[in-house]
Symmetry: C2
Subunit: 273 residues, 2 copies
């Protein structure tokens, strides 16, 4: 698209010391994301997924040197139409922003979504995932991706979890950060919220548990997964309506948190579907 | 344990420029691991798992400042008994070796295992995982961990995969790198090996596939999982004895590779068990 065809201006940034570059770069860090209420998502595929879910970036940052792509043209037009800003910059500056040696040709800046429990609509899906003190952003993104695959309502993050708006979590979610509802709360806030409506709380556990296979799951089913190293606190397990156990044939007594959640979610889906 | 109780010598290393430090540090890189045929495993829990599986490090590197621990004493004695070397060093040098800011107090150097197909005993488990061009060492380690959990025989890595002996894969495997058989080969070598004995090759696929739930799995069942971005080549899918499909209720048409493998492996286990 030539300059003459466009009804909007692109802002050009060519200097590393431009304050916008620093601002964007800082969004890789949690404290800056929290203060600004913004996050970064990288790549045309992710941004197209977001657009198709009705989520547009407030700012779109593109390299000047890029292959022409109709989806990128559509994205740029949609962002501009919505009053967003279009920034054109160099590949080196995009590398500085994303921290990746080979950044994709486009990055979007999004306003963080409301993650309060009251914003969640539990009727949106028969399955919910609930992660407690999940530390790994890759696991978090993978759980969002699994949520999308099983048609879940969303992911609720309990206690001190990784940031769902980190670049790594957003990337691992493969776009599910835009399709899934995300909640964040403490356990003490979560329990009353859960009990204020319908919902079955289920955890994988070794204590007083039934076989996960064919267990009496009911919708909406909230699948609780614990921290990568410590698992769930006993007091949290005690609050569950159903404790299930998965076969462990080897030396280990646990699975990767995202894997455990997924195996359970697919079993629940088979029962509820 | 005081010096006087020990029947073996500890070699003390206090200088950053000691060639052994460089040698150990280099083992974080694939090319050096390949040349030396050695790899690193970090942490008392992992090394204890290894010992209980009959795998001892050739060299044990410990920090001088560490909490006394009976398992560490047992480990040290076992390594010394087997003729291994014990090195005592500083936390800073251990940081340099492992590349982690807060390294655990002990690191072991192991000889890489034989990963040729002829070394594999397919009768060792009813399930095998086969990963094709799996690029992420965390996914690879997670798959090993799942293999252990379902009582699999092992993991076979096809084409250009991440290195199962990288620190990240070893860590993510949670010790399963020591319990599971690991094979590495090209597709062209793998197929004749597979067909030279009994074995059903199964892939998750969207083409010409049956529901993964209750599909006619048979042992030994080889679960084939494709590359994180591209999935399996069509020609590889065509060679499968069974193509199964998992529900995808959301926008995405795929799961994380380690997650897909695990959901399938647990379904196979339920059928075969």
């Amino acid at each position: 698209m030539s300059q003459n065809d466009r009804a909007w201006e692109r802002r050009e940034i060519t200097g590393f010391s431009n304050p916008t570059v620093k601002y964007l770069r800082n969004l890789r860090e949690k404290k800056h994301r929290k203060r600004e209420g913004k996050f970064l998502a990288e790549g045309l595929r992710l941004l197209t997924d977001a657009r198709e879910c009705g989520k547009l970036p407030e700012t779109l940052v593109m390299t000047g040197k890029r292959d022409a792509h109709p989806l990128l043209d559509e994205l740029e037009a949609a962002v501009a139409d919505a009053g967003g800003e279009i920034i054109e910059t160099t590949p080196n500056i995009l590398t500085k922003i994303t921290g990746k040696d080979n950044p994709q040709a486009v990055v979007g800046v999004f306003a963080e979504f409301d993650t309060s429990l009251v914003s969640l609509d539990r009727s949106q899906g028969p399955i919910w995932m609930v992660a407690q003190a999940l530390r790994d952003p890759g696991n978090l993104g993978t759980m969002l991706r699994t949520c999308d695959a099983v048609g879940a309502g969303g992911l609720i993050l309990i206690d001190d979890c990784a940031d769902p708006f980190s670049m790594e979590a957003v990337r691992a979610s493969m776009g599910a950060v835009f399709t899934q509802q995300i909640g964040r709360s403490t356990w003490d806030e979560f329990l009353p919220w859960l009990r204020s409506g319908s919902g079955q709380l289920v955890a994988a556990s070794l204590r007083d548990a039934v076989d996960y296979r064919g267990a009496p799951y009911s919708a909406p089913c909230f699948i609780l997964v614990g921290n990568e190293s410590r698992g769930l606190p006993e007091a949290y397990e005690d609050e569950c309506d159903l404790r299930v156990t998965m076969p462990m044939k080897g030396r280990a007594d646990s699975l990767n948190a995202a894997v455990a959640g997924a195996v359970l979610a697919y079993e629940v889906l088979a029962k509820l579907d």
